[in-house]
């Protein structure tokens, strides 16, 4: 077990992405048209690294994260490529396309929970109230790691201990409602990590928790990441968490990644007006608490039958009439690891855009 994780940690440095998402599109059929919920998303996650996916609610970040393991409802029409490197299985050269797998089939199920685990924002509802925490943990361990009940329980207890839950034996037989919010999320993490995943998708893991607990949970995740050497896809709307946790950041708006860069770049050299807006509205460390946070004016349009234009156009303070609302925005590379979708930076590549 430890050798395996050590290996994974080793490989993290060799630049081979663990997960690579290319041109992911999710369309949802609505009454009044087709909603383009995710529209051509590309990103990569390297082994052992953390990618932050940030954006307002409804920007499509949750859909994107769930699309990776194919657990979106069947109404979501998903296209694109999601390559996952199954190196540990010994077929390093040939990553498989998760999207091409039958979402109800055995293959994807053997990856879910096992290679890629997921934690959700509301541990109260994410756990079923009908069964004990132990039951729900063991269930997963028994699918992927061992058929033996006792062994599975041992693993579960061990994991509970790792996430800092004391009195595991008792807790094991308790129901979710008997746990506090933070405790539940710890249990959630314990469950997610119980099969030593290579990638952990954390969908707003701390949103439902209060600030102190939030910090504890994040710390826990970080220490566990160090221990297990897994990669994390952190989905959140909280730039503070991004700053603390991530190596790289992708900012999503209206189904598109509008800016992607290493975490430092985003905070010190934001390009996209939306990113800038987000940063402005973030409470400054040491800033005066009572000052009302800035917010971005305007509301998000429905991405239904949208004409080719910038989705942020109506809320943008720097918009260029006749350009921003006339064509779709191409991706512009600012540097090797910094790209942005905004006409403000696309002058030099205008030809490409046309």
């Amino acid at each position: 077990m430890t050798t395996q994780t050590a290996q994974a940690a080793c490989k993290a440095d060799d630049g081979q992405p663990l997960l690579s998402v290319q041109d992911l599109k999710i369309r949802i059929q609505m009454d009044n048209g087709v909603m383009q919920a995710v529209d051509g998303v590309d990103f990569e996650i390297k082994k052992g690294k953390t990618l932050g996916l940030v954006g307002e609610s409804g920007c499509g970040k949750s859909l994107t994260s769930r699309a990776i393991i194919g657990i979106n409802p069947k109404e979501c029409e998903t296209t694109g490529v999601i390559k996952y490197d199954l190196a540990s299985e010994g077929s390093a050269s040939d990553p498989i396309d998760l999207l091409s797998l039958d979402p109800k089939g055995k293959r994807i199920r053997s990856i879910r929970g096992n290679k890629i685990a997921m934690i959700f924002q509301e541990p109260m509802t994410a756990f079923s109230p009908m069964y004990t925490i132990g039951n729900q943990m063991v269930e997963m361990i028994r699918i992927h790691r061992t058929k033996n009940k006792k062994e599975a329980k041992k693993i579960a207890l061990e994991m509970l201990g790792k996430v800092g839950i004391s009195d595991q034996e008792k807790r094991f037989d308790q129901y979710p409602h008997e746990f506090s919010g933070g405790m539940r999320q710890r249990a959630m993490i314990a469950m997610a990590l119980s099969c030593n995943p290579e990638l952990l998708i954390a969908d707003e893991p701390t949103t439902a928790l209060d600030v102190t607990i939030q910090a504890q949970v994040l710390e826990l995740m970080q220490s566990l990441q160090r221990e297990f050497g897994m990669a994390i896809l952190l989905v959140t709307h909280d730039l503070g968490i991004i700053a603390e946790m991530c190596d790289e950041v992708a900012v999503m708006y209206l189904g598109k990644i509008v800016e992607q860069a290493p975490v430092r770049e985003i905070f010190y050299n934001p390009k996209h007006p939306y990113t800038k807006g987000l940063l402005k509205s973030m409470p400054r460390l040491g800033g005066e608490k009572s000052v009302r946070l800035d917010s971005i004016e305007g509301s998000v349009p429905m991405p239904i039958d949208m004409p080719p234009m910038c989705g942020f156009y109506e809320r943008c303070t720097d918009r260029i009439e006749g350009v921003c609302n006339a064509r779709s925005v191409p991706k512009t590379r600012i540097s090797d690891d910094h790209s942005v979708r905004c006409f403000l930076y696309s002058d030099q590549q205008r030809g490409e855009a046309q």
Binding site: L63, S281, L293, S295
Partner: protein, 381 residues
């Protein structure tokens, strides 16, 4: 344009819903309306119910004949066919019926009806017929449609007393579609208030209310109705008597709703936002009205729409037990009870037409409730 504080939304709901919600920020009711509009069957049902209630409102005008148009000549006549082509093969733009001639089969004594192709009666709009009070206000003889005297128009045939079934169904809808609403209304109010009190305040009040509910639930209703119908003096019209019975029915029937409401209140009153409101010192009434009720209003609406068809059906059961409406006052229950004879099923199947109407109404109410349920379900897109 409105301000959208993006960091303040601590809670996001299930992702699909949130995907739609922030993008198109609308009130709960507007959302329900939008979702309801998508439920095709519910929409059709609403239209059907609209038509039925419209017909009930203008029943006297729409029905060609009155409830007391007995005619021994046309006993158990089958439905007439509206014709366009006459016996000579000539086409008429205006649909017409032939005169019915009847005689009894000397052996079986069954009335045999033959169309007399000599006499044609064209269907006409706004014909003069029996006098009635339009909307109970002024007297008129005008009926929506009919044929000229002495012709007869029996679209759904006639009953054992020679009355037009169509007219009886139309006129019967007045009772069948209105009185159940009264019953449901009373149950609704009682169930909501008492269940709410029981669930919200809890403690000894809850205990007592629960015991009272148990007692009421085990009330022997049948002897109660028997006593009631015997005690009501004969001068009280049957419709009024039935109204009393329905009210009593409602006075007993609220317990189901009360239990559900109580359950909902108990589970909701511990929700964070309610507790918060309480700590903030918001008054009980305000908490109930502002915070608790909206939490399951949708459930109540649905429960109500589903209770109405049950009431309509229980009216038919009451008629079966001889405790309901009695002819000449007519409700659908009366018509079904009359149909409930082997000879009618065997010889005069058109007397089962009211069953179709009742089924239609109940279906419409149920689909409507179903549509509302689906629409009010926050997890549904």
């Amino acid at each position: 344009m409105r301000t959208l504080p993006i960091f303040k939304r601590a809670k996001t709901e299930a992702f699909l819903e949130s995907a739609a919600k922030d993008i198109n920020y609308s009130s709960q009711w507007k959302l329900i309306y939008m979702k309801f509009k998508r439920h095709k069957l519910a929409r059709i049902s609403l239209i059907v119910l609209g038509v039925l209630y419209f017909v009930a409102l203008f029943a006297q005008f729409i029905a060609p004949y009155s409830l007391q148009s007995y005619d021994s000549k046309y006993v158990n006549a089958p439905p007439m066919t509206l014709r366009f082509v006459d016996a000579d093969g000539k086409f008429h733009l205006r649909p017409f019926v032939y005169e019915l001639k009847s005689a009894r089969d000397p052996d079986t004594m069954r009335k045999i009806f033959v169309s007399d192709t000599e006499k044609r009666y064209a269907l006409k709009w706004f014909v003069q017929g029996e006098e009635y009070k339009f909307l109970g206000m002024f007297k008129t003889k005008l009926h929506l449609f009919g044929v000229e005297q002495p012709g007869r128009l029996f679209m759904f045939g006639t009953d054992a007393m020679g009355r037009d079934m169509f007219s009886r169904i139309v006129l019967g809808s007045q009772i069948s579609l209105s009185i159940p609403l009264v019953g449901v209304g009373i149950s609704f109010v009682l169930g909501l208030i008492i269940g709410g009190i029981s669930g919200y305040f809890g403690g000894w009040l809850d205990s007592i209310i629960q015991r009272i509910i148990e007692i009421i639930r085990s009330f022997p209703t049948l002897p109660l109705w028997m006593a009631l119908s015997a005690a009501i003096p004969p001068r009280v019209p049957v419709v009024t008597m039935y109204l009393y019975i329905v009210i009593i029915f409602a006075l007993i029937g609220w317990t189901d709703l009360a239990r559900v409401v109580r359950g909902k209140f108990i589970s909701l009153k511990n929700e964070d936002y309610v507790v918060a409101a309480k700590i903030a010192g918001v008054g009980n009434t305000k908490i109930i009205v502002k915070h608790l009720l909206p939490g399951f209003m949708s459930y109540l609406v649905v429960a109500t729409t589903l209770a109405i068809p049950n009431m309509i059906l229980s009216e038919t059961a009451m008629s079966f037990l001889g405790l309901g409406i009695r002819s000449p006052a007519t409700s659908w229950g009366v018509l079904l009870q009359e149909a409930q004879k082997v000879e009618n099923v065997a010889l005069y199947p058109w007397k089962l037409i009211p069953l179709g109407i009742v089924v239609l109404t109940v279906l419409a109410y149920n689909f409507l409730g179903d549509g509302l349920r689906d629409a009010a379900d926050p997890y549904k897109k």
